[in-house]
Symmetry: C2
């Protein structure tokens, strides 16, 4: 029997997710306003047969202390739809997943833009559905009071329902274009949505033909209770946040069991945890790279963040020595705190190094050679901790190039990664069915 196949997204910010990455030797520090760099990276991802370029997004300049803000390359970035549409022309197979919030936008606009991106790209669009709770974003849209968590999720659910309903405005065969009779489309194959709901009133129809994929692929990231349930009901890919293989297996089992109870086939949703990868020709070299990368993080800001994280003023400790033993108890989350302390002890990190590690990127990381990383990825796949990963590169472009040149061939050798794209759409590559139109056969 053929082995299960890894699916791979690339979770991208133009200059990397890591806060110190723009200072790493060889970094393209201006990639957040230099399209040529983005194009080159997307083409390399396609060479590596990645399923999708997954564009992160924020609706504000992130609210952080000015000492941290002025060191952050995330203050400026491309807008996802314009970026991904431009990348559509520079690639042929790569999926294009845009983050778009249900909190401060209109479903008619969102439905239209994704449908347009899907037509332009020949069926490669995906929607990372997020809600926005950042108060600074709210103030960019004239809102002073944010929706509470439950309201945000109820609105998100209604919003997705309206958007998918708008995508179904026309049957696939609506456009007859009969030059002889002069009939361009069959009005009986057009549906007026006429949605009236708790948060949204949207008449429709959408003024664009049904997307090539029927619906662009629906991606979610929620890990809260309502987030998991919404995902089990409606998502086709989840951008997961498990930090360990055990947490990954528990999350995977929980979401897939929710699908079982809903009568949804398990393979209709791909769980892709975020994964930060540092690959080199030896473990020692990879560790050196990580140490160099972490050293680019602003220590003072990172120490302030670590203090918040641990619920302790760590700036009073000796920054060049390990964390003291017998740290006082605090009100912080025990498991998160213990994970951090355990990591610091295991790697013998000084307080400063620990702060810089977490200030750079603190989530699931695989570090080592192509073979050791492929071992770990395979273990996750085979033990049903994931269906693949959303890969985050530590620095760009080299981290991405190294992954494609070193890790991908290793995954292919093991028979757990494609040798060529399976289909022409993102759906076909991910192995997802094309949704039926809810209004038409």
């Amino acid at each position: 029997m053929a082995k299960r196949q890894l699916k791979l997204g690339a979770f991208m910010r133009p200059v990397s997710l890591h806060t110190g990455a723009w200072r790493y030797p060889g970094a393209w520090a201006d990639a957040n306003f230099n399209f040529a760099h983005l194009k080159r990276m997307a083409q390399k991802l396609e060479e590596g047969l990645f399923d999708a370029f997954f564009m992160a997004d924020h609706l504000a300049v992130l609210n952080m202390p000015v000492e941290a803000l002025k060191r952050s390359h995330t203050v400026t970035s491309f807008e996802p739809f314009t970026l991904l549409s431009a990348l559509a022309g520079a690639t042929e197979h790569l999926g294009l997943v845009a983050t778009a919030s249900t909190t401060f936008d209109e479903p008619y606009h969102i439905a239209r833009r994704f449908a347009s991106l899907d037509h332009i790209s020949g069926g490669r669009a995906g929607w990372n559905v997020v809600t926005t709770s950042n108060p600074d974003a709210a103030r960019n849209f004239g809102r002073e009071d944010l929706l509470d968590h439950d309201e945000r999720y109820r609105r998100a659910r209604e919003f997705v329902d309206v958007v998918t309903g708008l995508w179904d405005s026309f049957a696939d065969d609506a456009f007859v274009r009969n030059v002889e009779t002069g009939i361009y489309f069959d009005p009986a194959r057009m549906h007026v949505l006429d949605h009236k709901g708790e948060f949204l009133n949207v008449r429709g129809p959408l003024n664009i033909a049904r997307p090539v994929q029927g619906w662009p692929v629906i991606v979610q990231a929620g890990s809260s209770e309502p987030g998991r349930q919404l995902a089990a009901e409606t998502a086709e890919a989840i951008f997961g946040a498990a930090n360990t293989i055990e947490a990954g297996r528990a999350f995977y089992a929980d979401v897939k069991e929710r699908m079982d109870r809903l009568g949804r086939p398990r393979e209709h949703l791909k769980i892709l945890p975020g994964l930060f990868v540092i690959v080199a020709d030896s473990l020692a070299e990879a560790q050196e790279r990580r140490a160099l990368l972490d050293s680019k993080v602003h220590a003072q800001s990172a120490i302030a963040s670590l203090s918040v994280w641990l619920g302790l003023d760590v700036s009073s400790f000796d920054l060049d020595r390990p964390l003291p033993d017998n740290l006082p108890e605090t009100n912080q989350s025990r498991s998160g705190r213990e994970r951090v302390i355990e990591m610091a002890r295991r790697e013998n990190l000084t307080v400063r190094q620990l702060a810089q590690r977490l200030g750079g990127y603190g989530g699931l990381t695989m570090i080592g050679t192509a073979a050791s990383i492929a071992d770990e990825m395979e273990a996750w796949l085979e033990s049903e901790a994931c269906d693949g990963f959303n890969v985050m590169f530590p620095y760009l472009p080299d981290g991405l190039f190294d992954f494609v040149d070193k890790v991908i061939p290793e995954l292919q050798r093991r028979g757990i990664y494609r040798l060529a794209y399976e289909g022409s759409t993102l759906r076909e590559n991910l192995g997802l069915p094309r949704p039926a139109n809810r209004f038409f056969d």
Copy 2:
């Protein structure tokens, strides 16, 4: 002294503005969901050294009787930002003007998308600022009651002010990216807008660097009194609607005099009337093409529209004979009615032909050989009836290809059209200054 130079935009719907165009021999009737066709047309426009691809837009399926609707190719189209961003990658010089409404969108989104398009295209974005009064569009955005005309214009003015303010969030030199010190940008060179107005509250800053052009080029189409005044104050190009050279001269003089009174240099605003062009190797052949094109318009729908236009039930007339003499008086606008009747008499059109002419395209038209069309265009330019045109092609792609292959060389021979692009940005090609940042030197 060098002659004044014509500026040329191409006012585009993917299948043409003309309602019968999709049935014309050789038409690309599926261009509204076939990106390859749009790419080919944009590249041909660039070969013809056009200033800009100007994308028309609507926020709804247009409300028309079903007999007309089902014959209309405008029911489906690409969304402007995704389309133009994809075209940015397929072209190097062509300006990319997106229609975006101030009525049903958020200034933060609009500012961000245009800034992103401007960065992606290397400074080729333009914004066609419109207000939306279509009640069907309102219902796609949960609004039952439309703003009245004055409110729409007040909101538009405030909206443009907020968007341009957001574009100025960062000084051009804000991003220092000093790898040694770790400073990515200078917070003293970032401005928080903190706008609180009649219609909009927007904090800012925008999370993208200042556009390459400072601001994308601001285009407007308003011909009403508040529309002209807003344009004289803020527009850099006007999409005009003059039907005759006399009307063109009057409009031109009025707007430029408003600029004089405001102390704005006249050359900072280009007036580009919409112009429908049918070119062939002889006038007779061009007229045959127009007759064939008009014959593709659905007569019944067109006759219903002509009845409304004239304020008379024309379906009771003999459709294959000219309009009867001594038409009864009605309450319709006298000048519009007389213009239509005069055109019918001059060209000896039957009632059906008149209806199909107006149902296809009823505005300013030039028809004939490349030489005769260039004569007319030159006369408009030299008599200060325009600074150029927004050209509309009768059918696509052939109408566009013919214009580039036949009319453009004729304009160049006369020394009134460029032989190469003057600059690298839309602004530079149009001869418009780069706006100063209102918050920073």
